[in-house]
């Protein structure tokens, strides 16, 4: 059994919180079966996360990072344990469009141009109107720095631009919880660094809660307010590491001794997972 971790330190002790927790997992276990072989992807994972925070998930390959994200997004049902997203079940949160999801490959529909891809969420799941004050597809493309590329088809965009479109799409309708599963894993390091900085800017501007999966120590340390380290076989919480780097962060922070020390600590931790 993994330790229960509580990130909502500011909540009053009586359990009567002003805003519900962005995420509250209790003892989540997920088992997959394939061809007579059972895999315990997650075992007894407990975790709570307050609204507006930025959590990065780090861990060796196959430790269940994606699975945890997918449980939160109601793509996978936990075999045991309970999950509450913004005070609701994951299914309710999903139907209420509280959740945005960004996949490793941008998963754009190749026959739709950039703005139509961003617009997709309005066309499915019951045609929805954007709330009055919400950012419109064009605004979101501007936000991710793609003004002028509205009509480009995905294959005309570079990998980094495709991921920006995917982020814009996930932000449409102003989700209160943004889940990102190695969104920059396939990009080259320079593009990745640029997008990391930009993501922090977007996070600051929109105020969404973000859970970000990565297997890069540098990325996890640079982005997260906290880094949740998972251990593999079975996937369970190894440690929750608080990041005390100053905010807002710029890339140069990576050369700071604190950052180097944090990276070293994460690396050492990772080697024990």
């Amino acid at each position: 059994m993994a330790a229960a971790l509580d990130m909502a330190q500011d909540a009053p002790p009586g359990g009567v919180t002003a805003a519900p927790l962005a995420l509250d997992c209790r003892d989540v276990t997920v088992r997959f079966m394939s061809e007579r072989r059972a895999v315990t992807a997650l075992e007894g994972v407990s975790l709570s996360l307050e609204s507006g925070s930025f959590l990065t998930l780090l861990g060796p390959s196959g430790c269940g990072k994606s699975t945890l994200l997918r449980v939160v997004a109601d793509i996978v049902q936990p075999s045991a344990g309970s999950v509450s997203v913004l005070g609701r079940t994951p299914a309710q949160a999903r139907q209420n469009r509280d959740i945005g999801f960004v996949f490793q490959d941008a998963s754009l529909l190749p026959w739709r141009n950039a703005i139509d891809n961003v617009r997709l969420p309005l066309e499915v799941g019951g045609r929805r109107e954007l709330p009055a004050g919400a950012m419109r597809p064009q605004d979101l493309l501007d936000l991710v720095g793609l003004s002028g590329w509205e009509k480009a088809l995905p294959h005309e965009l570079s990998g980094g631009m495709r991921q920006r479109v995917a982020i814009a799409r996930a932000l449409l309708g102003g989700p209160r919880l943004l889940l990102m599963d190695e969104p920059f894993g396939a990009l080259d390091e320079i593009t990745r660094d640029r997008l990391n900085e930009e993501l922090l800017r977007i996070w600051a501007e929109t105020g969404t809660t973000i859970i970000f999966v990565t297997h890069s120590i540098y990325e996890a340390a640079f982005l997260g307010q906290k880094v949740l380290m998972l251990a593999a076989r079975p996937g369970r919480v190894r440690e929750l590491v608080a990041v005390s780097l100053p905010e807002p962060r710029r890339l140069a922070v990576r050369e700071s001794p604190e950052f180097v020390a944090l990276a070293a600590r994460l690396r050492a931790l990772l080697e024990t997972c």
Binding site: I75, S107, L120, V124
Partner: protein
């Protein structure tokens, strides 16, 4: 192989412009070769045909010489066109109906796995029965007009499209499926916004094959009873040993089916403008 040989490393004085010009000329030559080679191949075939007939004194009822066929084609052009017309209508209607049915059934198969499992083997069995053995039953059911021929063209077209369409509808990117789930899309929305477009490259690869087979189907359909059409003309020419007319008729049908194929390819170019990710 992707080796891009440009120019041998000659002198550093070779300007970029000169290199480009040489390359462009080479490209131009290649493009022309690609256009001319089929004509060349066709000419070679015609020559071999002509030479065989001339040298071995092949008598016309065994194989006519190409010039005789050409003359027949020219002289009977009106009659050939008049007979091409019904065949073309049957082929196109059969193409539309057969593919429509296949696409519909593929849709059902994809959404109801049990139906797929129950009926796919039957579809295989029925497909393995030669068309001409199925044809008389269709005449019984539909009489002698255009309909049985359309049905045969449709049936012959149906199976490959079914197989490809099922494959295409199932070739959706699993992450795109998860995205749709996160967006709470209904099955119908997933179908309309995702599966359909994903399947298009698969579908067109079947349609391009179907274009020629539909014509073959219409011709075979005419053999079970038709007074006009390419198929009827083939029977008549065969029975009368009018080999020049036979060859001209067969070529006429072939030209039409190639035209049909090219049309579908043109439509594909207009419809599928994006870059598929690992389609056929």
């Amino acid at each position: 192989m992707s080796l891009q040989a440009t120019m041998p490393a000659t002198s550093a004085a070779a300007t970029a412009d000169a290199m480009d010009a040489a390359w462009l000329a080479a490209q131009q030559r290649l493009r022309w070769r690609r256009r001319i080679m089929p004509l060349f191949g066709g000419a070679a075939l015609l020559f071999v045909w002509w030479a065989l007939v001339a040298v071995f004194q092949v008598r016309p009822f065994i194989a006519p010489s190409p010039e005789v066929v050409a003359i027949t084609f020219y002289q009977k052009f009106g009659m050939l066109m008049q007979n091409l017309w019904p065949t073309a209508i049957e082929a196109v209607c059969g193409f539309l109906l057969g593919n429509f049915a296949a696409i519909t059934l593929a849709t059902v198969f994809v959404h109801r796995k049990a139906v797929d499992e129950a009926f796919f083997p039957i579809a295989v069995l029925i497909n393995s029965i030669p068309v001409v053995a199925k044809a008389p039953i269709l005449v019984l059911l539909m009489g002698n007009g255009l309909s049985p021929k359309i049905a045969i063209a449709g049936i012959i077209v149906f199976f490959p499209t079914l197989v490809n369409m099922v494959r295409g509808l199932e070739a959706v990117n699993p992450q795109a499926m998860e995205l749709m789930h996160v967006l709470s899309a209904t099955k119908w929305e997933v179908f309309m916004k995702l599966r359909l477009q994903t399947s298009l490259p698969f579908l067109f690869s079947a349609l391009k094959i179907a274009a020629s087979t539909a014509v073959v189907g219409a011709i075979v359909g005419e053999w079970i009873g038709s007074q006009e059409g390419i198929g009827a003309l083939i029977i008549q020419a065969t029975y009368n040993f009018d080999s020049a007319l036979l060859y001209a008729t067969v070529l006429c049908g072939s030209f039409f089916s190639i035209l049909f194929f090219l049309t579908i390819r043109l439509i594909e170019r207009f419809v599928v403008r994006w870059q598929p990710e690992g389609a056929p």
